[in-house]
């Protein structure tokens, strides 16, 4: 039954080691995975970007904020001066938590009367939302207990921390993962299919046949990427449709804006696909290289784990991935109803990345085909 097995094993190993590029990538993938899982994937939430509206500006309010900061959960990154600004920071995605201390907070407490504090929380990421909510409330209870003295027993909670979720009030996880999934799927399809489509022609030998034809490099390149651009956009809309009617994740913001920004994003992933196709010699290699990019794009883009909680080096790696910015845009538009004015930064970065990647792709494509 096992006749000839040793011969087959012998040949397989020769073939595996004969292709150094494939072997290197095969060995790199587990290392990349290990680094990501070891360092980046840490379900503990930290450094949640928080803005403060301190209308009291008293000794007590500052003490309260210090207690917040001391938890390590909130990264108090700045003050705003109005409640509309506070909300705008969260809608734009620049902050996930907003703390509002009303005027008179210190005076009420000093008088032994209960005082309220409002904590606004971006509910779109339910991990961040539930942790920041429970920590804020615990903090309030703890501070209340500290202030309770045997002489002044009171039923009411003195430091009354009220939390309010701005979006996704039921903290449904679908609301968080569906927009993320849209981004990852769009990325996967456009990058993988483009690189495959070109490498397959190289493997078949048809690329050479095309190269002797009068088809221009630009015509060849655009002809290769436009169908996959269309396919990617159709796929995104299918996912959006299902998100809406199966998972009840509505698009809070403007759909045309979402489509427009998705188009910008797709150019960068098509560019990546083209670059891969100029590097890879076989479809297997193209798949492995795509996987190397895809893995961090899924794990580090904020799709699964909040970026704020990542160690700094990993955070910077995630800043190099186009998907990261698109995920921001998707969540902004779909969950928080963000408009263009809140998404300029991400759009600018994505446009820059797209242009750069397409330029590199065009240059490399010219050199390898022809």
């Amino acid at each position: 039954m096992m006749r000839g097995m040793s011969g087959i094993i012998y040949k397989e190993f020769i073939q595996i080691t004969r292709n150094p590029a494939t072997l290197v990538i095969m060995l790199l993938i587990p290392i990349v995975q290990l680094i990501i899982f070891g360092y980046a994937i840490d379900t503990e939430v930290r450094n949640v970007r928080t803005v403060v509206l301190d209308l009291d500006n008293s000794h007590e309010s500052r003490e309260f904020l210090n207690r917040f900061r001391a938890t390590g959960l909130y990264d108090l990154m700045g003050q705003v001066t109005s409640d509309t600004a506070l909300e705008a920071e969260i809608v734009s995605g620049r902050a996930s938590v907003g703390i509002m201390i009303p005027a008179g907070y210190g005076r009420e407490l000093a008088g032994g009367r209960p005082a309220q504090i409002l904590v606004l929380i971006d509910g779109s990421n339910n991990t961040i939302a539930s942790q920041t909510m429970s920590t804020a409330q615990t903090l309030g209870i703890r501070m209340s207990i500290e202030r309770v003295s045997p002489r002044r027993l009171s039923q009411a909670q003195l430091v009354d921390v009220r939390t309010r979720f701005l979006f996704n009030p039921d903290l449904r996880s679908a609301a968080f993962f569906v927009p993320g999934l849209v981004g990852v799927i769009l990325f996967l399809v456009t990058m993988l299919l483009t690189s495959f489509a070109i490498v397959r022609e190289k493997e078949l030998g048809t690329m050479e046949q095309l190269a002797v034809s009068p088809v221009s490099r630009g015509g060849l390149m655009l002809g290769k990427i436009l169908p996959y651009l269309l396919l990617g956009m159709i796929q995104m809309n299918v996912v959006l449709f299902f998100a809406q009617f199966v998972f009840n994740v509505d698009i809070a913001g403007s759909l045309p804006l979402l489509e427009g920004l998705a188009l910008i994003f797709v150019f960068s992933s098509l560019g990546l696909g083209l670059i891969i196709s100029t590097v890879a010699k076989t479809q297997l290699q193209a798949m492995l290289i795509s996987f190397m990019i895809l893995l961090p794009s899924i794990l580090l883009s904020g799709f699964i784990f909040p970026r704020e909680s990542m160690p700094l080096p990993i955070y910077w790696i995630s800043a190099l991935l186009p998907v990261t910015y698109f995920e921001e845009i998707l969540r902004g538009i779909m969950l928080r109803g963000a408009g263009m004015e809140a998404l300029w930064d991400e759009t600018a970065v994505l446009t820059g990345m797209g242009l750069l990647l397409l330029a590199i792709a065009t240059f490399r494509f010219r050199k390898t085909v022809g």
Partner: protein, 316 residues
């Protein structure tokens, strides 16, 4: 075909191609006249396909230049591409597309526009592809794949065709039909550049080039090549003897002084003997064979020149 003073269809001038520090093609020059069938021969890896790629504008030569119908293959690559048809060594059509789809794809690539349909009808008719139009290209047999490849390469009516080993691996009938078709094309004034390993195909060409270890060793029509003094040294001649079922004493022959390149074609023993070797004597030594004067074959030409080149290389 008579060589005219007219501008050549294909011209290679000192073409050289280096890949890193490996020289794949060294100083290759030749002309091919319009309407000629030029056969390009040489062992595997000698540089045939690389020469074609340079002439087609696929590779930029490291030295020298090629031109097609007077246009430079590198500088005027776009014009050159419109005037040539190229059938690469490897079957390079889309196996998952049908015959019809492959044809209309290439027609579009060449921008045939309204001429697409009549041109498709014409090549389908010429190559008898009609019964296979709906079949996927990957499911065709070797000979029909080559016909389809030829049909695609002919859609835009190229005036110069490059065929890189078009008959490798196809059966004798398909081979014969393909050559009949090539003659038809040449008759219509299309210039054909064909690489092959088959001697009978070489005999069918108007002119031949033989490349060995990246250098062009020989150039001429089949008869000129057979008469080349390097093939038949002045102090030697080719002898032949019918074997009639008896075994040829090959080992004894190769040890014999003055006898070279002994080989067997079917029932005939064929060798190059020094003039000092007496034919009757040789016949007796071989157990009663009857030798008579023969002529070198094209195979003799290539074998001898390859041996000479090898020897030259070893001494230098």
């Amino acid at each position: 075909m008579a060589r005219t003073a007219e501008e050549p269809a294909i011209q290679a001038e000192a073409l050289t191609m280096r890949f890193g520090n490996f020289t794949a093609v060294q100083d290759v020059s030749f002309d091919v006249a319009k309407g000629e069938i030029f056969g390009f021969l040489g062992p595997n890896g000698s540089g045939k396909s690389t020469v074609i790629r340079m002439l087609c504008g696929l590779l930029r030569p490291s030295g020298g230049h090629g031109s097609i119908l007077g246009r430079d293959s590198t500088r005027e690559a776009e014009a050159v591409k419109r005037s040539i048809g190229y059938m690469s060594q490897k079957f390079s059509l889309y196996p998952d597309l049908t015959v019809h789809e492959n044809l209309s794809f290439y027609g579009r690539i060449y921008g045939l526009g309204p001429k697409l349909q009549p041109r498709m009808d014409a090549v389908v008719e010429q190559l008898h592809l009609a019964p296979y139009l709906r079949r996927s290209a990957g499911a065709l047999s070797g000979g029909w794949k080559q016909r389809l490849a030829l049909a695609c390469a002919l859609l835009h009516e190229p005036r110069v065709m490059f065929l890189d080993e078009p008959t490798a691996g196809i059966d004798p009938v398909a081979r014969r039909e393909l050559w009949d078709f090539l003659y038809e094309l040449a008759g219509r004034g299309v210039t054909l550049f064909v690489t092959t390993h088959y001697m009978d195909e070489a005999e069918r060409c108007n002119r031949l080039g033989y490349i060995y270890l990246s250098r062009l060793l020989l150039l001429g029509n089949p008869d000129e090549l057979k008469g080349d003094p390097r093939v038949t040294p002045s102090a030697a001649r080719w002898l032949e003897a019918g074997l009639d079922g008896s075994e040829a004493p090959m080992e004894r022959l190769s040890a014999m002084p003055g006898v070279e390149d002994a080989t067997i074609f079917g029932n005939t023993l064929h060798l190059l003997a020094d003039n000092s070797v007496d034919a009757a004597e040789l016949g007796r030594l071989c157990g009663g064979l009857d030798f008579r004067e023969g002529a070198p074959t094209l195979e003799d030409v290539f074998v001898r020149l390859t041996r000479l080149a090898e020897r030259e290389q070893r001494t230098s």
